[in-house]
């Protein structure tokens, strides 16, 4: 029905859409999601053939085929035939769309070319849930929800084949939003709709397919349910994480940096946490991965850690029977279990401090045979006992540079610079006095921050945090957990968080696993 091929659009020098390709089949409701400024409205305007009318310096290339007609090259006459009759749109800026001097009734009848078909208009207003006795009201007398309903009625009254819904539910309260979603769902039955929004809740409720747009190109597309339950692109995951959802207990996390759209390489690379060199140079093509299409050089969010079939026992006591777990880049997996259930043993096995009886450990899909510098550069651990985690003979500076000293990679002055950077990242002072304090001079919270700084100074990708807050009081615990959350957002750190505290687990984790009787099971709490 709608086929978009190599669509690019720009305003002067500013490219907004880049080489967009997708197809919408008859009867589909496709959601296009992305932050503000990713080109959603430009796409809608292009499909409506309104782009050049909206802005004088707009340029468009590629083709938009609607039932075989290319909208990009269509004449004004052809467009007039299609617009509103075949393709209609619910515009975003409600207040600017309705003419303040014309009543609702007349506004709708304008679309019917001035034919005042009372029955049709009343019928439509009823279908969208707009009280028909208020049809003579003027736009300024209506609430936001009512205005939106009028707009929807206007879009649907000609029974078009394709409807573009540009942010139909943003800036509405939840109750109104839900009733509108119901209305749209009913009206769209048997029709094709394109839903452009950043409101993920609406996407989940309305659409079957979702396309994620960033910097004017598709980064991921597929079935809505799949994309929400298992996002593959770091940007998609970032969007889902920043959206407050009723059944998500983890603190909100944003996407690092701000949208700045680059001309070379992957559009997302300036903000991506799993960036490699190729990402800066070549634009990744949209490839099929299972059911979803994905544009990422790394094949989506990379699995950092895979633990397979690990077993361990001490004398006659079996601690781990057959433990499996995995941690992806930028996610927090919590391992929950009572004390003595083998949580720390598993962490120590992963770190190569204890030898398991059997099983394999993979880091970034490579089997670990030897625990060497390259492993420890990518994986770090925070131990449970804060007080003894730093040698009493080392001051703050020595403690933080110790990992770099061991790796012998930098000059002393560089190491001190790095140490100061990490210390400010964990919100500690970097003045001389503080750097020369010894562990026994520091409070529990400060010492824990020093320990975190030590673990971060080698820029690991995976952090194993073994009860990092169990010895801290609640207020300091809250601060440390927030700190870890922020660092994860900034660095894309994968975290294996070990705790016995369910409350903490729910607050920090993307997934919760339970270790019981030597076996890891999924905890259904989220």
């Amino acid at each position: 029905m709608l086929k978009i091929k190599n669509l690019s659009a720009s305003y002067g020098n500013k490219k907004v859409l880049r080489n967009l390709n997708f197809e919408v089949k008859k009867g589909d409701i496709v959601a296009i999601v992305g932050e503000s400024g990713t080109g959603k409205t430009t796409l809608a305007m292009s499909i409506m053939g309104l782009l050049s009318e909206q802005s004088a310096d707009a340029e468009i290339s590629g083709s938009i085929l609607f039932n075989g007609t290319d909208i990009c090259s269509a004449s004004r006459q052809e467009l007039l035939k299609i617009r509103w009759k075949k393709i209609s749109m619910v515009f975003q800026n409600i207040d600017n769309i309705l003419n303040p001097t014309i009543s609702v009734y007349n506004q709708i009848s304008e679309i019917l070319n001035g034919k005042k078909n009372n029955l049709q208009i009343n019928n439509m207003l009823e279908r969208v849930g707009f009280p028909s006795n208020r049809a003579s009201a003027y736009p300024h007398q209506l609430s936001m929800g009512e205005k939106q309903k009028v707009l929807i009625a206007m879009a649907y009254i000609l029974e078009p084949e394709l409807i573009i819904l540009d942010e139909p539910t943003s800036s509405l309260d939840n109750e109104t939003k839900n009733s509108l979603i119901k209305v749209i769902k009913k009206l769209s039955q048997g029709r094709t709709a394109l839903l452009l929004t950043h409101d993920l809740d609406t996407v989940k409720k309305l659409s079957e397919k979702t396309m994620v747009l960033y910097g004017g190109s598709t980064v991921e597309s597929g079935h809505t349910k799949k994309i929400f339950s298992n996002p593959r692109h770091p940007y998609t995951r970032g969007l889902i994480r920043s959206y407050p959802s009723m059944n998500r207990t983890k603190d909100l996390q944003g996407i690092r940096g701000r949208p700045e759209f680059v001309d070379t390489g992957c559009p997302f690379w300036p903000r991506c946490t799993q960036l490699i060199n190729i990402c800066r140079i070549y634009r990744p093509p949209l490839k099929k991965y299972g059911d979803t299409m994905l544009a990422c050089h790394r094949g989506g969010i990379i699995p950092l850690l895979n633990v397979e079939n690990i077993s361990k026992s001490y004398n006659n006591l079996t601690v781990l029977k057959s433990a499996y777990l995995n941690v992806y880049e930028g996610e927090t997996v919590t391992l929950l279990g009572r004390s003595g259930s083998g949580k720390t043993t598993l962490a120590k096995i992963i770190m190569g401090l204890i030898k398991p009886f059997g099983g394999n450990i993979y880091l970034e899909n490579k089997k670990i045979e030897k625990w060497d510098f390259s492993f420890y550069k990518r994986t770090q651990m925070i131990f449970q006992e804060v007080e003894s985690a730093v040698s009493h003979r080392l001051n703050v500076l020595d403690a933080v540079i110790e990992p770099m000293v061991i790796h012998r990679v930098k000059s002393k002055s560089d190491m001190i610079e790095d140490a100061k950077k990490v210390l400010s990242e964990v919100e500690l002072p970097t003045d001389k006095n503080f750097l020369h304090l010894y562990p026994h001079h520091l409070s529990g919270g400060e010492l824990q921050r020093v320990v975190i700084a030590r673990a971060l100074v080698l820029s690991p990708k995976l952090l194993i945090a073994d009860e990092p807050t169990s010895s801290l009081d609640a207020s300091i615990q809250a601060k440390i957990l927030k700190l870890l959350n922020r660092i994860q957002e900034e660095r894309g750190l994968g975290m294996l968080f070990i705790t016995h505290d369910l409350g903490v687990a729910r607050k920090v984790s993307d997934r919760i696993l339970k270790l019981e009787n030597g076996i890891i099971t999924k905890e259904r709490l989220r």
Partner: protein, 277 residues
């Protein structure tokens, strides 16, 4: 637990006294040749009373007792420090390695130490010395060979404790090699115990050297406080013991007391239960 030896030393008067005495004695041994006569030179003036030329008089061979006293002190200091160092070095090397490596190596070493501790070392030392009449260097080696075991045992135990500490695990998770962990963490953490072990070994070495010289089984070529006391006792019926036996006895006691005072301090540092005792 963070311990500052200097801070503890500031609070402990007797340890300060020990340190002062030891320092003075050490300085004396270094500068002794500057203001003494040749201790070996014989003269016809035998068993003379103290005078301006011979501050502590002369012995039965006409040698200057004061010069011999200072050179005897030199021997004691040399033996104590070098035997102390050598024995401690052996204790640390063997103890730390056994504790850190564990397993069969540890088992074997520990059984060797046990068997050596069972044998009374003084008797063996006397027996060997009687045969080889050791000079200073071989004496130091002999004493060291029979003094590292106790220290090694303690150090091994402590190593076992320290290697389980979280900061050692942390260092391992940074990728630290064994050598780094040993030299930067375990041995520095053992500092106080190594110090105690050194002081203990040094003190016993002084005592052993003097004792063996006293019973006449060490080399006659070296001047020793033990030999001086042995010789002085032959003339106990003359008043010479006042300036011959007494000064050498006092000198030996001073060395022993100063070592003891210092090791008491270290013991208190290591074992906080002794703090208020």
């Amino acid at each position: 637990m963070h311990i500052s030896v200097r801070k503890n030393l500031k609070k402990n008067k007797s340890a300060q006294a020990g340190l002062v005495i030891l320092t003075i004695l050490f300085l004396i041994t270094i500068i002794a040749p500057l203001f003494t006569k040749d201790p070996e030179t014989f003269s016809k003036m035998i068993l003379s009373e103290p005078s301006l030329t011979n501050i502590l008089g002369t012995n039965d061979l006409g040698q200057d007792i004061f010069s011999r006293l200072l050179f005897g002190l030199r021997t004691s200091m040399f033996v104590s420090i070098s035997a102390g160092l050598l024995a401690t070095l052996l204790s640390v090397a063997i103890g730390v390695l056994a504790g850190f490596t564990g397993g069969l190596f540890d088992e074997v070493i520990m059984r060797i130490i046990d068997s050596m501790l069972v044998i009374p070392s003084i008797i063996i030392l006397i027996l060997i010395s009687a045969f080889i009449k050791p000079n200073l260097i071989s004496l130091v080696i002999l004493i060291s060979l029979f003094h590292w075991q106790g220290g090694a045992r303690i150090i091994r135990g402590q190593t076992l404790v320290i290697k389980q500490k979280i900061h050692i695990y942390s260092a391992r998770t940074f990728g630290a090699k064994k050598a780094y962990i040993l030299t930067r963490h375990i041995i520095p953490d053992l500092g106080n115990i190594i110090m105690a072990s050194f002081l203990h070994n040094a003190r016993s070495a002084v005592f052993l050297e003097a004792g063996m010289a006293f019973i006449g089984i060490s080399s006659l070529s070296s001047i020793s406080l033990g030999t001086m006391m042995h010789n002085a006792l032959e003339f106990y019926y003359l008043p010479v013991w006042l300036w011959w036996l007494l000064p050498s006895g006092i000198m030996l006691s001073l060395v022993l007391v100063s070592f003891t005072l210092l090791s008491n301090l270290i013991e208190k540092i290591i074992d906080p239960r002794l703090k208020d005792a």
